[in-house]
Amino acid sequence: MVQQLVRLESNQEIAQGMFLMRFDSRRIATSAQPGQFLNIRATQRWSPLLLRRPFSISRVVGSSIELLYNIVGKGTKALSAQIPGEEIDVLGPLGIPFRYDGLFETAVLVAGGLGIAPFPFLTDFLEKKKATIITFVGSRSLFKIDMLHLRNVQYATDDGSNGFRGNVVESLAEYLQEHTLTAPKIFGCGPTKMLSSLSRLAQAKELSCELSLEGDMACGIGICQGCPVERSNGTKKYALVCTDGPTFDCREIKLPSP
C-alpha cells in the first residue's frame, strides 16, 4: 500500500458521462491485482470535498494505471475536471483481489453499468491463465464500450436498443438455459440490487460466484468501520467492504433483497 501524488496522463470522456483516467505509478502497477481499488482525493485544490473516493483499478498497462468512472456527484465531477499534467493523491492498492483458485475453466464476468470497471484488468489476468471468458454487460440504454479490453461481450439494455432487452442478470439466466458452460465461475460487479439478484441466481444454480461490492467509505483501510456489509454466518455480524472485500464469495454475505 502506498500513498502518493501521481501526475495525470489523460482523463477523457469516452462515452456519455463516462471517463477513462490514466496515470503513471510503477509502485501501484507492480503490486496491484484484479479486483483491488484505489482511494483517491479528487482534487488537490482547496475544496469542501473532504473524503477520498474509492475506484476499482480498471487496467494496468506497463507502469500506467487506468480508472473508469461515471460522474454521479461532486467528487466524480471534480475528478473529471482534472487535466493531464495535474497531480492527484492516490492511496492503494487496497482490498482483497478476485480469487483465482484454478477450479474453473469458464469465467463469466457480469457487469451492471459501471460495474465493468474492474473487468479489463481481470480479463488480462484470466487470458494469461487461459480461461474462457464471457462478459455480460447491462445498461439502461445503448452503451458503447468497444475500446475497453473485454472479451466475448453479451449486451443487455433495459430498452432493447443493444442486445438482450432486460437486465443483465435476466440475460445471463437465459444464456445459462441455452448453453452448457464447462466449470464456470461468475464474477459480478455493479449496483447492489443487481448483485443481489445475481447472487440468488448463482446460488439457485449452485454456481461459484464472487461479487465486488460498493459501499460508502471514508478511510478505505479498515480504520473508520464505515463500510459494513452483513455476513451470512459466523460470530461477527458485519464484514468490512474495504478490507474483507470488496470481493466476496456470494455465500459469505447477505445483500438486501432486490
Binding site: 502506498v2 473524503l51 460508502d216 467509505m217 471514508a218 478511510c219 483501510i221 480504520i223 456489509v229
Partner: protein, 313 residues
C-alpha cells in the same frame, strides 16, 4: 526546542495525538507513517464485549466534514489485550486507551482489567454513550452521571484519567468543572456534534440511525470555542479536538488553551497528516523564537471583557 508535556507522571513527547476511532489500533497505517513520531495514540473506544456496531449506512460526507454512526463497533477489551496491545507495546509513543460502556459498572470493569496490563499509559473515557439503565440517554449529556463515572473510576487507577466531553450540551464548562472536581486529570474537548442529512429523492435520512456525529473541518470553529470555554473554567489540561487539518489549526487550539491536540477525521484523508503537524508546530515555534512549544498554550491575546462567554463562566 522542548516539545514534550506531562500529565501526572506520564510524559508525552509532543503535543499531537491521534483521536479515538480515527487511527484504529495503530497497525493499519504502519506502511504509510512512522507512528513513533506522534505524541500519542488514542485507541478506538473499547467495551467489555465486542460490538457489531450500527447497520449501514454509517458514513455520509457533508461540506468540509462527515457524519458517522459507527455505533462503537470494536473488538472488545479481551481481544484488544490479546491481539492489539502486543503491537502497541512495541511503539515508542504513549498509548491512551479509550473506553466506552453502557453502564457505570462496565466502565469500571474495562478499566480495572486494562490496569493490570503493561503498555497502557493513560485512559480516555468516552461518555458519549447511551446509558442502558436510563433508557439510552447519553451519559455525557447528564452532568451528574458524567461526574459519577469520573468519581467511580478515579480510585481504580493511578494512571492519568482523561474524560472526553460531548459538545451536545448547553454549557460544556459545567461538565468540565464537574469532572475536575471528581478527580479527572484532564479533559478532551470535543467529541462529535449531533448532525443529520436527508436524501430528498427517497425522503429518508441518509444514516441508518437518522442522526449521527459530525466531525471534520466543518466543526473546527465550534470546537475552538468549546476548548476556549473549558480552558477558562478548569485548571486541568485540555486536549483540543475538532477539525484539525494543519499545524496552523493545531496552534489555534494551543493558543486558546489546549495543552495538546488530537487529530481525528483528517487521518482518513491523509494518514501522514498528524506526523507532519508535529514537525510543522516545531518549525513554527522556532520561527517565533520560543524554546518550548508549551509557551503557545493559552497565549491568546484576547480582550475577554467583550466575550459573551463571561456571562456564564
Amino acid at each position: 526546542m522542548k516539545t514534550s508535556f506531562s500529565i501526572g507522571n506520564v510524559e508525552f513527547k509532543n503535543r499531537v495525538l491521534v483521536a479515538s476511532g480515527t487511527f484504529g489500533y495503530g497497525d493499519e497505517v504502519k506502511d504509510l507513517v512512522d507512528v513513533n513520531k506522534l505524541g500519542g495514540i488514542v485507541t478506538k473506544s473499547l467495551s467489555w464485549k465486542p460490538r457489531d456496531g450500527n447497520p449501514p449506512r454509517r458514513i455520509v460526507e457533508t461540506p468540509s466534514g462527515m457524519l458517522n454512526s459507527i455505533g462503537l463497533a470494536n473488538v472488545g477489551v479481551h481481544a484488544f489485550i490479546r491481539e492489539k496491545l502486543p503491537y502497541l507495546r512495541t511503539l515508542k509513543t504513549k498509548i491512551v486507551v479509550n473506553i466506552a460502556a453502557s453502564s457505570v459498572q462496565e466502565y469500571c470493569d474495562v478499566l480495572t482489567l486494562l490496569d493490570t496490563q503493561e503498555g497502557v499509559d493513560a485512559y480516555e473515557i468516552n461518555v458519549s454513550c447511551p446509558n442502558v439503565k436510563e433508557g439510552g440517554l447519553n451519559f455525557g449529556t447528564d452532568c451528574r452521571m458524567t461526574r459519577e463515572i469520573t468519581a467511580q473510576l478515579r480510585p481504580l487507577t493511578r494512571k492519568p484519567l482523561i474524560i472526553k466531553l460531548t459538545p451536545n450540551v448547553t454549557h460544556i464548562s459545567e461538565f468540565a468543572r464537574a469532572v475536575e472536581d471528581a478527580g479527572a486529570d484532564a479533559v478532551s474537548v470535543i467529541n462529535t456534534l449531533v448532525g443529520m442529512a436527508v436524501d430528498v429523492r427517497t425522503r429518508k435520512p441518509k444514516l441508518s440511525t437518522v442522526t449521527g456525529g459530525l466531525s471534520g473541518p466543518a466543526i473546527k470553529p465550534i470546537a475552538l470555542a468549546k476548548v476556549y470555554e473549558v480552558a477558562q473554567a478548569v485548571k486541568i489540561p485540555v486536549f483540543g479536538i475538532g477539525g484539525i487539518q494543519s499545524a496552523e489549526d493545531a496552534i489555534e487550539f494551543l493558543l486558546v488553551g489546549a495543552t495538546a491536540v488530537q487529530v481525528g477525521t483528517m487521518n482518513f484523508v491523509d494518514a501522514t497528516a498528524s506526523a507532519r503537524i508535529v514537525e510543522e508546530i516545531r518549525e513554527f515555534a522556532e520561527k517565533e523564537n520560543l524554546d518550548d512549544v508549551g509557551k503557545l498554550v493559552g497565549a491568546l491575546d484576547a480582550n475577554i471583557k467583550h466575550s459573551v462567554l463571561q456571562s456564564w463562566l
